[in-house]
Assembly symmetry: C2
Homo-oligomer: 337 residues x 2
């Protein structure tokens, strides 16, 4: 279905957003063979100019007619816009790599982290979904351990940065911080509560079972990407006053015993993973250090003595890169291989 070429017409829907801009940077950085760039956004951003490969490209308004001649369309404009416009892009002959939650659990749509399940890409019918940022970092690290020792259960608590919410949330954290340091009242527009100097156990909407959508994404997406519905997953997702990178405290129970050293050795050989684990020298993954990095960092690898086969891990990945833009571009790279 997808025709290989020397260079491709690439559309970016949501080009002016935090992730959209990151996509352009990564396409350029990794020398993705782009013949022409189609930058799409809402009416508000129409006419803006963005740099790519030493040229200025004008942002056009996203419509159903935006995709004529487009080979690959990277969507990062929210689930509602993906639902509205992705089918039109597919109709026009493009392959859509969608960053939203719109199609992730659709059985006809592959949900892909290339290091974990690249072969699933071949089964696409026009749309390939990019997983949720908090899921991507976790599965890149857990898949090699699952292959080695079979993971039975995952208990995860996240520390997610505000850039996952977008530019307005970045401004809100900075603005609230300045206000508080000047003894002024904080303004709340993006989050229901103050995020500066606080932590919010609330990401995305609440569901009937008491979990948030973000938490249930971690359950369902992990199973789909790891291609194993027997894995038990329970998640608590928390927003923290950090600008970039998601940190995760992950506890796993495996069928076979895996020592901390065996886990470290396995992960040292795993694609996309950097073992950063020398606590006695104060070396462990930190959001501020992983910012801008492609690898998912893992450290604090310890055997959990409360069960026979348990491990604790501390995982940090750049939510805008591996958690979003980089993973989407990696999918595109697999597609054109």
């Amino acid at each position: 279905m997808f025709k290989k070429k020397d260079r491709y017409v690439v559309a970016v829907a949501g080009a002016t957003g935090v992730v959209g801009r990151e996509m352009l940077e990564i396409l350029e950085e990794r020398k993705f063979p782009v013949s022409e760039l189609v930058l799409l956004a809402s009416e508000r951003s129409e006419g803006e100019k963005l740099d790519f490969s030493g040229k200025k490209w004008t942002v056009k308004r996203l419509t159903k007619d935006s995709f004529k001649g487009v080979d690959i369309a990277l969507f990062s404009a929210g689930a509602a816009r993906s639902l509205e416009f992705a089918p039109a892009a597919v109709e026009s002959g493009a392959v859509v790599i969608d960053n939203s939650s719109a199609f992730r659990m659709d059985p006809k749509v592959p949900l892909v982290v290339p290091e974990v399940n690249a072969p699933a890409i071949a089964k696409h019918a026009g749309i390939i979904a990019n997983p949720n940022c908090s899921t991507i970092g976790m599965v890149v690290v857990l898949k090699p351990l699952h292959d080695k020792a079979k993971i039975k259960r995952i208990v995860v608590t996240t520390f997610q940065s505000v850039s996952g919410t977008g530019k307005k949330a970045i401004d809100e954290l900075a603005g609230q911080t300045v206000a508080l340091l000047n003894f002024k009242d904080v303004e709340k527009n993006v989050y229901p509560h103050q995020i500066a100097f606080n932590v919010l156990p609330h990401i995305d909407a609440f569901l009937e079972n008491g979990y948030t959508k973000e938490e249930m994404k971690m359950v369902h997406e992990t199973r789909k990407i790891m291609e194993d519905d027997s894995i038990g997953v329970t998640a608590t997702t928390v927003r923290v006053p950090v600008f970039r990178c998601h940190s995760e405290s992950v506890n796993i129970e495996t069928e076979k015993k895996l020592t901390a050293n065996e886990a470290r050795a396995t992960l040292s050989a795993a694609p996309g993973v950097l073992v950063y684990d020398d606590p006695k020298r104060n070396i462990y993954p930190l959001a501020i250090d992983v910012s801008g990095k492609d690898e998912t960092y893992v450290g604090r690898i310890r055997e959990d003595e409360s069960i026979p086969n348990g491990l604790n891990l501390w995982i940090v990945s750049d939510n805008l890169r591996k958690g979003a833009a980089l993973n989407a571009v990696q999918i595109a790279e697999e597609l054109i291989k």
Copy 2:
């Protein structure tokens, strides 16, 4: 051994510290029957004057001779000073309520959270230990659930505020935040890495098994306070850029099934606990709201579907009050009852 009186001579060792000052506030607030106050600190703070009950009290230097005539000595001056001076206080006839880790795991020393194990106080031989801040909030909430359904295993990840480290850490978070917002380099004196806009999976020193002392305190102290060594506990303790209150993501596995509603009902009747759990109205415990509160707040109570008998909870308590000063004063109140 401890003689009941109408009013008591109370010493506070470490009176000028963050917790020491909180102790004075709480003694006053709760009208603890103080006949005389003996404020003790290091040489550096000698001569400082602190308010208590409308009077100024002069801080004296902590020595082995500081405790003549003292009935109750509240220690919050670090483990080294407790080890050095607490035995002298006991020798002088005082009962020591020690906030440090020095004596917590000593089998002759009761480790007490009054709502959980007040009767243990009677067994003291001069010293009663106040548990670690991150443990206190957790056990206040978990004990009623343990009584109801027997907890087999706890997986906890903490979000701990900088005030747990003391005044210098509060200044470091504020100073680093200001520096970053002014595009200046951050200074690091208290923590090995930047704490502003970052999270550090590192509290207290690292041990041979890869865990921090703080993490192992949560394991050992929880078992001792709950008086059940069969409970499995594994912890990941994390410092977050929050000034006050520790938040905790707690996953428990119980022997008997406990629904979220049953847990909520049990906790609604539990002493020292406030169920704050209406997520659809954005009501869940937050560090900024629990600051200054005596109760430990619990919310986000959900059944964990990855195991038959699992629950997730989000617990927030004021680390300076219930996590330190308040709990110590509550122990003193039990002592004089």
